[in-house]
Symmetry: C2
Subunit: 524 residues, 2 copies
């Protein structure tokens, strides 16, 4: 009989999250998670953010992790709740975002029955999780949760999924086990392979055309500066992978060109390089496979050097700088040269993007899920105010609206500008409600082309003649046209529609002036 206050498994979990530095929980709970909800209630240092669909919950956790550089928790209801969040966990996995999923499960004694919600939750979790664990009972909740947090923080970021059976949550932690386990410190990334590093140094010293091909961990300000020194000192070119979780861009930053999406221009870009050094990303491969085409985009005979995904990208770049003697080289940073505001006229994606780049506030976070409508933005914003850009990483569309919300929660002092295709936005439009409820500083531009425009091109590419009725029905989003002003208002977000450049600029200024969510439907 201990005098210590009682503690159940759910309370132990909440306190372990706090001990591990996790103080945001994106949630869509159900009955089996009610004890954890009560525990969160008793630990108000954990901020709880509700998403009205689980794809919103997991997408917010991804956006949060990309900006905070530490994990949030998610709270999901059993296997089906997890299932709804899987596609954006796939994106988070590809982004190497650290996420700790807490998934409720039936009490052990209930699990064997064929009940409506009985499902294989581990089976759902495994394809997107680097680590899956289950709290066996209340006594082991803290140690298992600490392990989940440690796994999530392994370099460069992992998905850890903790299954919490209801009886482990409501069960009393025995007095002897009533200790909150502090997760071990985040493991640093591995050192790059010495042989690969030596090959990279030789390539950089060769004087031959060499490309530094960088993934997200190498695209933060610090590692990018190292890449900039290498560019100056060794004459190499710096490019980034198509699907980058986060990249520092704009005035004062090292200019980086992006590998094009279509295979033909990507091959053309890569053809000129004798050496390609990939850091924090695999070597360049096409997004999809196409008939009669090689997936590898580098030319035959190109010397491809992969320094690896799991390594500490910053340390790898520092090592290259040291070995090549580039430490004193100057960085050729982008000058501040925002584009002019476009003149009035009918709106197009390109003109809208020019206006966004012209008015982009300093330290904005640009979320790009504009798909085909991103045209012209990269060029127009190269010398815009410094900003971070977040993109879809796993090709699962519907990441934009929750990514913007999560980023806004992680960086409340920065404006989030979400450039968003209409088709993709429809997957997770519920995120607008969370943006309204939490008064998140997100300005969303919906590019309303009313089609899966990218697929129209792909259909042509497979040699199909003019699309017939079935294809048109599957690729177009008109009839009826989506009315994004109504959709946004329905979720409490003020919105305007623009079909002229002047109208769009007015909307942009209105959205940038306020602090809170706003949406512009750009008819293009």
């Amino acid at each position: 009989m201990s005098d210590a206050p009682s503690m159940n498994g759910a309370q132990a979990l909440a306190q372990t999250l706090l001990a591990g530095g996790i103080d945001v929980c994106f949630a869509n709970p159900g009955t089996s998670e009610m004890h954890f909800v009560a525990a969160l209630d008793a630990n108000p240092r954990i901020r709880c953010v509700l998403g009205l669909a689980e794809g919103v919950v997991t997408g917010m956790a991804d956006g949060y992790a990309r900006m905070a550089q530490r994990p949030a928790a998610t709270l999901l209801h059993l296997g089906p709740g997890l299932a709804n969040g899987l596609a954006n966990l796939h994106n988070a996995r590809k982004a190497r975002s650290p996420v700790v999923n807490v998934v409720g499960d039936h009490a052990g004694f209930h699990a064997g029955f064929e009940t409506p919600l009985a499902s294989d939750a581990e089976g759902f979790a495994r394809p997107v999780s680097h680590w899956v664990g289950r709290a066996a009972d209340a006594a082991s909740v803290s140690v298992t949760a600490a392990q989940a947090i440690a796994e999530a923080q392994a370099c460069p970021g992992r998905i850890a999924t903790l299954l919490l059976p209801a009886d482990a949550a409501w069960g009393e932690v025995p007095a002897a086990a009533r200790r909150i386990v502090s997760p071990p410190a985040a493991r640093p990334g591995a050192a790059p392979d010495a042989h690969a590093l030596a090959r990279a140094v030789a390539a950089l010293r060769s004087g031959e055309p060499t490309l530094l091909f960088l993934g997200s961990p190498a695209l933060r300000t610090g590692p990018l500066e190292a890449a900039g020194r290498l560019a100056t000192h060794c004459g190499c070119t710096v490019a980034n992978a198509l699907s980058t979780a986060r990249i520092a861009r704009g005035a004062g930053r090292v200019p980086v060109s992006r590998l094009p999406y279509p295979p033909a221009p990507a091959r053309a870009m890569l053809a000129g390089f004798a050496h390609v050094i990939a850091i924090g990303t695999p070597a360049p491969v096409s997004f999809f496979g196409y008939p009669g085409q090689d997936s590898v985009l580098t030319a035959p005979g190109c010397d491809v050097i992969e320094l690896g995904y799991e390594v500490d990208a910053a340390a790898a770049l520092d090592a290259l700088v040291g070995a090549t003697g580039a430490g004193a080289a100057a960085v050729a940073a982008e000058p501040h040269r925002p584009p002019a505001l476009p003149a009035d006229g009918p709106l197009s994606a390109r003109l809208a993007n020019q206006a966004v780049a012209a008015l982009l506030p300093r330290d904005a976070i640009v979320v790009d899920e504009a798909i085909t409508s991103i045209e012209g933005f990269l060029e127009a914003s190269a010398g815009a105010a410094p900003h971070d850009m977040l993109r879809t990483t796993g090709g699962a569309i519907g990441i934009g609206p929750p990514l913007a919300a999560g980023a806004a929660i992680a960086a409340p002092d920065r404006k989030v500008v979400a450039l968003q295709a209409d088709g993709s936005a429809m997957y997770t439009l519920q995120a607008l409600w969370t943006q309204a409820r939490e008064n998140l500083d997100v300005l969303t531009v919906i590019y309303a082309n009313r089609a899966y425009r990218i697929l129209e091109g792909e259909l042509r590419a497979v040699g199909a003649a003019a699309p017939g009725q079935s294809a048109r029905k599957m690729l177009s989003l008109d009839a009826p046209a989506l009315d994004w002003v109504s959709l946004a208002r329905g979720m409490g977000v003020e919105a305007v529609r623009a079909d002229t450049v002047a109208g769009f600029i007015d909307g942009l200024r209105a959205g940038l002036r306020r602090r809170g969510p706003f949406l512009i439907e750009a008819i293009i």
Copy 2:
């Protein structure tokens, strides 16, 4: 060199679907499915219905199967597209709905690369699928697809998932393999176990209180009449499981009472029976497990007889009728006694449900995802015009709007009345757009209580004191209130709001009069 026209794997798949009687494809395609989209275009007998999120696609397939009693196909984009559809496939699995999922995958030569969309598609599929297969190449597409169709149609209905690599879709079928395989006829259900059947007959003859506890396959008109004869002849009671895919109700049908959701009244209802005979469903078990409570709801010592899930439920009931000599017994059908229209006053869920029951058109399909707001409807509609009622089967919320759309496509001459909770509707509100595009005859009532009301009760049940700030934030949907009239209009569905009984009845009449989608936001 054959003279036969060329055929690729995608065309073979489309023709195999038609050979198997599948002529509806619910779709959300992507790049890797473009050859199949082209093949669908060339086979206009297959009706293609676009859903703007995959949960809509799979939920429509479930609703279609429940009404058509045969499978539709779904078309999903790679592992992440399948992932988005998993929760409603979980529901379809629990409903025993036949569904054939066609999931595109990367071309074989592309699959080994760490690309954005690379994922474990089989891993995603397995927890919800009774069968998972992969077309190895173009030559084997037809035989593999025929197997998928046969598996889906195994009694009482299964989920079959066919992975279609892009190169199997675009690859040319060799002339020698250019044969469309017709799926074998649907396998009939197994005969019930003779020993269990004998126990059931003994129970029915015992004169002791006996409950016929029926799942969906036993709740269609035919088997229900058999149950009605048994009730008359043997004096047994007829009840249905909580989560039923489809039940025939209303005037002229055999009255069936439903097992209550909360464990206490469910136990009380079951306590009076010496024998419980479960047909087409497991024996009664509580939805969730609760601290200190047994999950089994029948009283200790109750004689529980399970005739099984996979058996032909109609044949099992016929066998019981034959063995007990109930064949000539009359059926005590429900008389036609629709409730009166409620008098005007402030609206409540109970009054709204009374009005719906009063005005329910003959042969309506009632989709119930009203959760707590269904109160009073079952009683009020017991003697309403004859109708079928579809409910959530797997506890994954967000099935209602797509279920209604799929049912409307399967039964275009019947009015669909969808009774829908606001919290659940938000998961798949994109289904409203498909309802508008296809002009589906669906009248949706959104019960806007602006809360996860059922969870408020569950939180109290776990002994939490008054909910604090975090719990309130996770259980309430106000601040901002969802505006369903705007949301519906944003997707092309006309809508009205009602907060009085008279206003609600006006809306109901307007919605029933038209042929096409309409939505009433009922403020309760």
